[in-house]
């Protein structure tokens, strides 16, 4: 009359609980120790200002135009830089999909900047694009301009720096997304009468778009937390006073940890909003398989 009881182990496995779950432990520990705890700590600090109510630090940030404007300043640098990185990656990766001689060399050249680090990039930019750099000397010598063009220590310096360090990252991601699209799809489109433009815009781009959205989010996050280049090749008290500088000043110049934490939390929220919008739009796209059928 009694039905045989299934071993507990099997019943747990049915619900996805088994010893393989132990593989998740290291990652969980890291996330808790290095992300969740500091985040909660920062949030708590931001809600305990030296004076005023719980939200005083946030009120302070938003009521002071000098602080508040850093949000727009940062977005104004990070959004175009991320957009350009993704947009520039597409044609290059498109040309470089498939196999050809020298692909590895070309990929290496394109990816090397990722290893340079912001400081080295900034130094290079100053040498090359600075008022006495090669670029301006060339323009002056050839008589194309009669005064050096200012391309560093302002918006453009930071912008170039973000493109140089962000592009390889976007390129690698886009290249791998593109390689995942079955090449026979474009060939099928060609036999159906589609020229390259139609093949790209009707077939490849729609299948690539979700990948581009993801790539955009990642490069945007990298660009949004720009700090070293904003100081080294930017104009840290003016046009490139980004939100991370505001947080840094609050913490280490004014020693107002609540304000610094508030700035950091606001930074995270702004990033989240942008990512939510992009991923929301991505959800409207086709995100399924990019294979043409049974393989």
């Amino acid at each position: 009359m009694s039905t045989a009881t299934v071993a507990l182990r099997h019943r747990l496995a049915e619900r996805g609980v088994d010893t393989q779950m132990l593989l998740l432990v290291p990652a969980t520990v890291f996330v808790v120790a290095l992300f969740i705890y500091p985040f909660g700590y920062g949030l708590a600090v931001s809600l305990q200002p030296r004076e005023g109510g719980m939200l005083a630090a946030y009120q302070g940030f938003f009521s002071d135009a000098y602080q508040r404007d850093t949000i727009m300043t940062t977005l104004w640098i990070a959004l175009p830089a991320a957009l350009l990185n993704v947009a520039a990656s597409v044609p290059i990766a498109y040309r470089m999909r498939g196999r050809f001689r020298g692909k590895r060399l070309l990929t290496t050249v394109l990816v090397v900047p990722i290893t340079l680090g912001t400081v080295l990039t900034a130094e290079g930019l100053l040498n090359f694009l600075g008022p006495a750099g090669w670029f301006n000397r060339f323009l002056l010598t050839t008589g194309l301009t009669d005064a050096p063009i200012r391309l560093t220590n302002n918006y453009w310096g930071v912008f170039f720096s973000l493109v140089i360090t962000g592009f390889p990252f976007a390129f690698l991601l886009v290249l791998s997304y593109l390689s995942g699209i079955d090449p026979s799809l474009e060939r099928a489109a060609a036999t159906l009468g589609a020229g390259w433009r139609q093949r790209f815009f009707r077939i490849t781009l729609p299948l690539l778009a979700p990948g581009l959205a993801t790539t955009f989010c990642l490069t945007f996050v990298l660009a949004f937390s720009v700090f070293p280049s904003a100081i080294l090749v930017g104009d840290p008290s003016g046009s490139t006073r980004v939100i991370s500088i505001a947080a840094y000043e609050a913490a280490y110049v004014r020693y107002d940890y609540a304000a610094a934490s508030a700035a950091a939390i606001i930074m995270g929220v702004v990033e989240l909003i942008v990512i939510a919008i992009v991923l929301g739009l991505r959800g409207l796209l086709y995100t399924g398989s990019t294979a043409g059928g049974k393989g």
Binding site: D182, L207, A291
Partner: protein, 347 residues
């Protein structure tokens, strides 16, 4: 449909890094014909199809539709339809959009495009799936979408690259009939690539047998089936018994045995020269005088396929309706009109 009478391939050659993947394929395809390119993998049949479609540039040779030279045109200008081995359906488009894509690209007016798309979908019996994405369809359904997409533009030539190789055996038979039915109903001209001799024989009006990039034989299914021109075609067409020997007058002496057989020479066979005697398992008679012992018997429904060994060690494959078990003694005979004798050195 682009009206044409003949499609001519003239010495079509494609090299990959100095190796001829396809060497000098010359072929004239008449309107309404069903041509099968047949051969083992690596024989150049897919290369030939891709050259024809314009997906691979030719190394030399030319392709003509009547008096129009085609091989200099990109694939989108050739007006052919192609069915790919993996179907290559656009995964982000519904069945309907997939099928109407070619019409859109050709600038067919919207109302007409809608009508023709609906017709094509009806033709392959997918009406109730028209709004689904390819990923929601079974393999056989995807296959039918691929065919509808290729034929809806009324191409002057339909190219099919092993379209049935991803289907299970039952569906393969069904779709085979379906493809032949569509070919006849729509008056298509079809070039069909396959490595399956049975598929090629049952579908095609003419077969082109390829090996190592070279044409071995062009002929009707019957010609290729009963009179292969060389031992390689014979091997590919199911002549499973290939016995090396030497010509001895009207007879052939099989190497390392005392067996002498009489057959039909194909090509020039001079006395004493090395030859290959070829016969299908089903053509070996079990009412002869060569004694042999059954070693392996495979049940195949009405027949068994058996591997037998003669006393002096000659191994042969036979098919018979009689029930034989390993160890049984049988007596083999070789009908002279079914036993083909090929010169051994012919490639």
């Amino acid at each position: 449909m682009t009206r044409f009478e003949r499609l001519r391939l003239d010495g079509v050659t494609r090299r990959f890094g100095g190796v001829d993947a396809l060497a000098g394929l010359s072929l004239e395809i008449r309107r309404g014909e069903f041509i099968a390119l047949l051969g083992p993998s690596g024989c150049g049949k897919s290369t030939a199809l891709n050259c024809l479609a314009g997906l691979l540039p030719l190394s030399s040779g030319s392709i003509w539709r009547d008096d129009t030279r085609l091989d200099t045109l990109p694939p989108e200008k050739r007006g052919f339809g192609m069915v790919f081995q993996n179907y290559a359906l656009f995964p982000h488009m519904s069945v309907q959009k997939n099928v109407s894509f070619g019409l859109q690209m050709r600038g067919v007016p919207r109302a007409e495009a809608r009508r023709r798309t609906a017709d094509a979908i009806r033709l392959v019996h997918l009406e109730e799936h028209a709004r689904k994405l390819p990923g929601q369809l079974s393999g056989g359904q995807q296959q039918r979408v691929a065919i509808a997409r290729a034929v809806v533009v009324e191409p002057s030539l339909v190219l099919m690259d092993e379209p049935l190789s991803n289907l299970d055996a039952k569906l393969r038979l069904e779709m085979r009939t379906e493809i032949r039915r569509l070919h006849q109903a729509l008056g298509l001209t079809t070039v069909y690539v396959t490595h399956d001799q049975e598929e090629a024989l049952s579908l095609a009006d003419r077969l082109v047998v390829l090996r190592d990039g070279r044409v071995q034989q062009i002929g009707s299914p019957e010609e290729v089936h009963t009179r292969p021109v060389n031992r390689h075609v014979a091997d590919f067409m199911g002549y499973r018994n290939l016995l090396p020997g030497s010509a001895d007058g009207a007879y052939t002496k099989i190497n390392n045995t005392g067996v002498r057989v009489k057959g039909t020479p194909i090509g020039s066979v001079s006395d004493g020269s090395p030859v290959v005697a070829a016969i299908r398992p089903e053509d070996v008679s079990l009412t002869g005088d060569l004694e042999a012992t059954v070693e392996v018997a495979e049940y195949q429904g009405r027949e068994i396929a058996a591997e037998v060994r003669t006393d002096d060690g000659l191994v042969l494959h036979v098919r018979t309706g009689q029930r034989h078990a390993p160890g049984d003694k049988v007596r083999l005979g070789f009908p002279p009109d079914r036993l083909l004798i090929f010169p051994a050195d012919a490639s």
